[in-house]
């Protein structure tokens, strides 16, 4: 097929250089694409769409009574990253997760970082995701965030930035695996021989991570996945992960605390549970400890957790480290705990809780992106340059009323990847969410979820806002091969 009319825009295009030639990482793929007969790509895209429907690969959108189940939108053209660049991303992510774990552990125990004056106490105490109930808790293996999904973006200048850390219940990994599967099914001869780093062992790694962090002294631990149920937007993912790991998918009503342990109700009576990969937010996991009106949780679960008789992944209270105001301090956090410079830079961030920075934000609302510190899914964001005066006024009022709740960042220009739009390849903006597992090893999935904004010019990639997805290829070229697993002990020695 002809690719000639493809025009990358102002942004950095991942596949093509500004002169119209493919970048080195995309050369082989583009070559293969050109050998496809006219219309073949479109045909395959249709096949893929149909498979997605038949396989029931869906997500739910809140607030729509009928047809809440939407088929996952997938685009056949992959995002390709070469191994050399990925090495840098990998070590950056490892560094970040390691430091954040130490940070959360410190906050709920000694608070050294606060005592040493590196982060304001007020900022931590005012964080909505701080859980005083976790004070003094020591999770098995010292791991607080077992599973992390880090959002990365590439700006116009080609630099990769961390946009946000998702330390609570990051979702999307099932779609990464399904996208790859679908890619292999529908695009096999393009995929073949491309030396793409495999990601298929993720469920195995996840299970290992969970079992590695079982309560001390349990020899043959039982792990489960805890879901809020079929109306949750990520329900598909919960079933997928439970199935792939071969563990039970439970709802709160399937669990009960008796004699100091957590049990699940089976056809043969109660059976003990040691590790819970919970996909329910802190607030809902235990009505006796957090929100009393929660119908999704398990009474007294937190007592068992604090007594060290069950492991929750991620540990309750972890969310304090993905507060977007705390995010601004991650470079300092890395320096404080590891004595290193940050490898993957943060997006420059203005904290509205700081008077000087707040005034700067209020004076430049038309140039900045303003975000609430504790929302996810793209809700509540003001895109300054695309906003109306009325929207900016409303936002300014909200900032003045509650400055701690807001941060602002410069408007970045997300990179683009060619995407099939109405039978033609068009540049569409993407981000990337790789997944990192932390148990006895730190595992960085080679690749991740590439989300794509399907509307022309749009930079909103969330699936709840109409975004799509792509397969992400990390190439194993030359001497640079991704190293997904590194034992934490070895890594700590190396960095000591």
């Amino acid at each position: 097929m002809r690719l000639a009319p493809y025009q990358s825009g102002e942004s950095f295009d991942e596949m093509f250089a500004p002169d119209g030639h493919p970048r080195p990482s995309g050369e082989k793929f583009v070559e293969r694409l050109q050998t496809l007969s006219e219309g073949s790509l479109q045909q395959r895209q249709k096949t893929a769409d149909l498979s997605l429907q038949n396989m029931g690969i869906t997500f739910n959108v809140y607030g729509h009574e009928a047809g809440t189940e939407k088929v996952w939108p997938f685009d056949l053209l992959p995002r390709i990253i070469d191994a050399h660049e990925w090495k840098m991303v990998e070590s950056g992510l490892r560094q970040r997760i390691h430091a954040l774990n130490l940070f959360v552990d410190d906050l709920y125990n000694d608070c050294k970082i606060i005592k040493d004056g590196k982060i304001p106490e007020e900022l931590i105490l005012s964080s909505k995701t701080l859980r005083s109930q976790c004070k003094g808790y020591h999770p098995p293996q010292g791991v607080w965030c077992h599973i992390t999904g880090v959002d990365l973006i590439r700006d116009r200048d080609g630099q990769i930035y961390v946009l946000e850390d998702n330390l609570r219940c990051p979702s999307g990994v099932s779609y990464v695996l399904e996208n790859r599967e679908l890619m292999k099914r529908t695009f096999s001869h393009v995929f073949q021989g491309m030396s793409v780093a495999p990601i298929e062992d993720y469920p195995e790694q996840l299970l290992k991570t969970l079992l590695d962090c079982a309560p001390e002294g349990v020899t043959d631990p039982t792990a489960v996945v805890l879901t809020p149920g079929i109306y949750n937007s990520a329900y598909f993912e919960h079933t997928f992960l439970a199935q792939q790991m071969g563990v039970e998918l439970v709802q709160g009503s399937d669990l009960v605390v008796e004699n100091g342990y957590v049990h699940m109700k089976t056809t043969r009576g109660l059976r003990r549970v040691d590790v819970i990969y919970r996909r329910i937010d802190d607030d809902f996991i235990d009505p006796k400890c957090f929100r009393p009106d929660s119908a999704l949780g398990v009474d007294h679960l937190m007592d068992v957790c604090r007594a060290g008789r069950v492991t929750l992944a991620n540990a309750p209270g972890t969310g304090v480290a993905d507060d977007k105001a705390v995010y601004a301090y991650v470079p300092d956090i890395i320096k404080y705990y590891l004595g290193e410079e940050i490898i993957l830079p943060n997006v420059p961030t203005h904290l509205c809780s700081d008077e000087k920075q707040r005034n700067h934000v209020l004076g430049n609302l038309d140039k900045l992106v303003v975000k609430p510190t504790n929302e996810s899914g793209g809700y509540g964001i003001l895109m300054g340059p695309q906003s109306s005066q009325a929207e900016r006024d409303k936002c300014a009022d909200a900032i003045r009323a509650n400055p701690r709740e807001w941060i602002a960042q410069p408007m970045l220009n997300l990179s683009t990847v060619p995407t099939l739009v109405e039978d033609e390849l068009k540049p569409r903006h993407v981000d990337l969410r790789p997944f990192v597992l932390c148990g006895k090893d730190i595992y960085v999935m080679p690749g991740g979820l590439t989300r794509v904004a399907l509307k022309e010019g749009s930079m909103v990639v969330n699936s709840s806002q109409g975004g799509g997805s792509k397969d992400t290829w990390i190439l194993r070229n030359g001497n640079s091969i991704p190293e997904p697993h590194i034992s934490r002990a070895a890594w700590e020695d190396k960095n000591a």
Binding site: N54, S253, T267
Partner: protein
């Protein structure tokens, strides 16, 4: 396995089997009514009586016309036992336990649901329901086949078989009961030529004609009843279904033959041994309809015992999901 999951597997296969049997009901009635004179040609009401949904039907429709009855049985969302409702409940149950179902089974079920839903919006389906009914039967067979061929024959599989067998036993009993309304409106008709046509249609609706022929050759009402009620090798006979359900329950509990460890096993054991030692002569003597009525009542008691022995958690349902599910399930028994 989790009680909630066991319950979902069980109901999933009951709903699929139920959809298949509604399709069979419609098919047999079509076979019977096509080419008949007006009196017999308008026998659509018995279909509603035999499925046991008369009350809901009468709330919604004024008369038993062919179109109304078909609409009600095929696509009425307010009828919890319509094919569309069954397909949708089956999928909903499957969605809550997707992690334990082989992906090929889930995909089949998913396609089944989409097929039914898209057919529901077509006038042609009401006009010519046979082809649609055929597709529903095939989809059910595919699901049973895929489940048997890809799912470990462990506890979940056994619960799924119990569900399917109990549903099938119930529906075969209702198919046989159709004759109470249609085939023997008058005792004088027994043995007439017309009778053979109707009895073969009955057999056909249970996909039993060829197997019956090999067993008995000529069509005689007593033999047909014997075959559909008591045959121990024909997979849609009431006796066969009950024996398999009992076998699966034993695999689940580990009880040996001749013993019981809970109410479910006691009730199904009593029912099975009665079938083991009765004869079609006994049945006809006490009255076919009376016998089937008694059978259905006891089968319902078995279903209730299964609910209590295996599925009921000590706490009351807490989530929206559970309440919804329970509601859709209790409407059935």
């Amino acid at each position: 396995m989790l009680s909630r999951v066991a319950s979902s597997v069980y109901w999933l296969s009951r709903y699929v089997e139920r959809a298949e049997n509604v399709a069979r009901f419609i098919d047999v009635n079509y076979n019977l009514t096509l080419g008949e004179t007006d009196t017999l040609g308008n026998q659509w009401a018995p279909l509603i009586f035999t499925t046991g949904d008369q009350a809901i039907y009468e709330e919604r429709y004024e008369s038993f016309t062919r179109e109304n009855v078909l609409k009600f049985l095929l696509f009425d969302e307010k009828n919890p036992n319509s094919i569309l409702s069954c397909a949708s409940f089956a999928r909903e149950n499957a969605r809550t336990i997707r992690e334990i179902i082989p992906s090929v089974v889930w995909e089949q079920l998913n396609q089944f649901f989409f097929m039914v839903r898209s057919a529901a919006s077509l006038d042609a389906t009401l006009d010519q329901p046979q082809e649609f009914c055929e597709r529903v039967r095939l989809a059910s067979h595919m699901l049973v086949g895929a489940t048997d061929a890809t799912m470990s024959h462990g506890e979940a599989w056994h619960f799924s078989r119990v569900g399917r067998m109990i549903e099938r036993a119930d529906k075969t009993s209702r198919i046989v009961d159709v004759q109470y309304y249609i085939l023997l409106p008058d005792a004088h008709d027994v043995g007439s030529a017309l009778d053979v046509v109707r009895w073969s249609a009955l057999l056909q609706s249970a996909s039993a004609l060829a197997m019956y022929r090999r067993q008995y050759g000529k069509i005689l009402p007593d033999h047909v009843a014997d075959f559909l009620i008591l045959d121990s090798r024909f997979p849609r006979s009431m006796h066969f279904c009950l024996a398999k359900a009992q076998q699966s329950l034993r695999s689940i509990t580990g009880s040996t033959a001749g013993t019981f460890s809970n109410l479910t096993e006691q009730r199904i054991g009593l029912l099975c041994s009665n079938m083991d030692y009765t004869s079609v002569e006994n049945i006809i003597q006490q009255g076919l309809h009376q016998y089937i009525d008694g059978f259905q009542k006891q089968l319902n008691l078995v279903g209730e015992a299964i609910q209590d022995d295996f599925f009921t958690s000590k706490q009351s349902p807490q989530t929206q999901t559970q309440t919804r599910q329970t509601a859709s399930q209790t409407q059935t028994s």
